[in-house]
């Protein structure tokens, strides 16, 4: 557990936090812990029922799914200032649908999701800002996923004359 001042200065590097009021910033910072991890550290696995939201500050975290006959498929990476584990904040899912693993030595901020949900409930202004940020995260993931789905680098099915 790292001292509060260190958490504050780490979070201030992330652009979104600088848009918050002092009050909101302090409240959310209180829900945060910093973790410095080695490459290969697993944050959570598919099926886990843990309740944190993460922001990558340094390094890289990959999200993966284990596909039978294919092994571990990394389908997305979170780069510095990317969010992962965002589904914790939504009312619905309580079980991880993918795994998260640091592929490089990384520093992440992890937030107690239950605390975030309660904060959003009690302070709707904060709740709105949080959900707006979340909507952007999901939109961006959706865009990436769509492009991956189109599989634009794949070889076409039929061979035709050049």
């Amino acid at each position: 557990m790292l001292p509060t001042a260190e958490i504050h200065s780490a979070l201030r590097k992330v652009p979104w936090f600088n848009g918050l009021t002092v009050d909101h910033f302090n409240k959310i910072a209180n829900l945060a812990r910093l973790r410095q991890v080695k490459a290969g550290t697993i944050f959570f696995r598919e099926g886990d029922k843990q309740d944190f939201v993460y922001i990558v500050l340094e390094g890289r975290v990959s999200l993966d799914i284990f596909v039978p006959h294919h092994g571990k498929v990394r389908f997305c990476t979170a780069e510095p200032y990317d969010v992962f584990g965002w589904s914790s904040v939504t009312p619905g899912m309580r079980q991880r649908t993918a795994g998260a693993e640091a592929v490089l030595e990384s520093t992440v901020a992890c937030f107690n999701a239950e605390g975030l949900r309660q904060l959003a409930e009690s302070d709707h202004d904060f709740g709105y800002l949080l959900m707006r940020r979340l909507a952007n995260v999901v939109a961006s993931r959706l865009m990436i996923t769509r492009l991956q789905l189109i599989d634009m680098f794949a070889r076409p099915a039929e061979i035709v004359n050049d």
Partner: protein, 292 residues
């Protein structure tokens, strides 16, 4: 953005008086790059032709495999490299390119060219450069990368964004270190990674969300599947980079390479002679028209 006059040197590689007659070149080296992709390094059979042959990065040759036909392939050579060989990285996708994939050292192919417009490396000096490419879109930029490296002091921040389907599909991995050492910020991403992959997994256009660009002094060079380029252009425009500073390399069905056979037209342009490199400002009205 006109055809550089230097490329119309008549005696260099094209017989002006005989329609579609190529010049013979010998395969000196064959390098398997990734699944379904090979690199051929070629030398013109006639040494005088070989000495005279010149091209600018972004241009292409029509490669002729007797019995199969021709395919338009971008030049990937580094012009100043010691070997001076003509380099083509070819994705095997049709009859001609698959035949190219079966060739061996010593085999002879025909070359006509170079054709087309080139990356505007002189015009963008003094600017930051973002090179955004994917898949088989890297080979047409390889010559440009080396030319930038050789004139590194004339450019600001240079970023190379390169995407591929999987780590095994990445082209020219042995050269990445040299590029990074030459002060090129290399950001590689794949659509999906395996457990040994510790790099990015994602798509090239998303890079724009992570890094700030100065719209007044950033040029974008993009080449790859058209849908990738479309999203790169979208993100670049969203960051207020002027359309005239975004350069794209288009691909169409090419049979002659000389603006004669009509196949490669899009709107008013013959992609083979008015392109393949275009500033996006000249394409704005026609690029997003469905099936045009």
């Amino acid at each position: 953005m006109t055809i550089l006059q230097a490329n119309l040197l008549p005696p260099t590689a094209v017989f002006p008086d005989k329609l579609l007659l190529p010049l013979w070149a010998e395969i000196i080296k064959v390098i398997p790059e990734a699944e379904g992709v090979i690199t051929l390094q070629l030398k013109f059979v006639d040494p005088q032709v070989h000495d005279r042959y010149r091209f600018e990065p972004g241009q292409f040759n029509m490669l002729y495999i007797p019995g199969y036909g021709e395919a338009a392939i971008s030049l990937s050579s580094d012009r100043e490299s010691a070997s001076g060989l003509v380099v083509h990285t070819i994705r095997q996708i049709g009859n001609v390119t698959r035949a190219a994939g079966r060739l061996k050292i010593g085999d002879i192919v025909g070359i006509r060219g170079p054709f087309g417009t080139s990356w505007p490396l002189e015009a963008i000096q003094g600017m930051d450069v973002v090179i955004a490419c994917g898949g088989i879109g890297l080979p047409p930029l390889r010559g440009a990368i080396y030319k930038i490296i050789r004139n590194r002091e004339h450019y600001g921040k240079v970023t190379l964004l390169y995407g591929a389907r999987t780590p095994s599909d990445l082209l020219y991995p042995a050269e990445y270190e040299a590029w990074q050492k030459a002060d090129i910020d290399l950001q590689v991403t794949v659509d999906r990674g395996d457990e040994n992959w510790t790099g990015r997994v994602g798509v090239v256009p998303m890079w724009f969300y992570h890094f700030r660009v100065d719209p007044h002094k950033t040029a974008v060079l993009t080449c790859g599947p058209e849908i990738m380029m479309r999203f790169v252009i979208f993100e670049a425009l969203a960051r207020r980079i002027p359309p005239g500073n975004i350069y794209i390399s288009l691909e169409r069905n090419m049979k002659c390479g000389q603006g004669a056979c009509g196949h490669c037209q899009q709107g008013p342009y013959f992609i083979c002679k008015d392109g393949p490199i275009f500033p996006f400002s000249t394409l704005e009205n026609i690029f997003n028209v469905e099936e045009y």
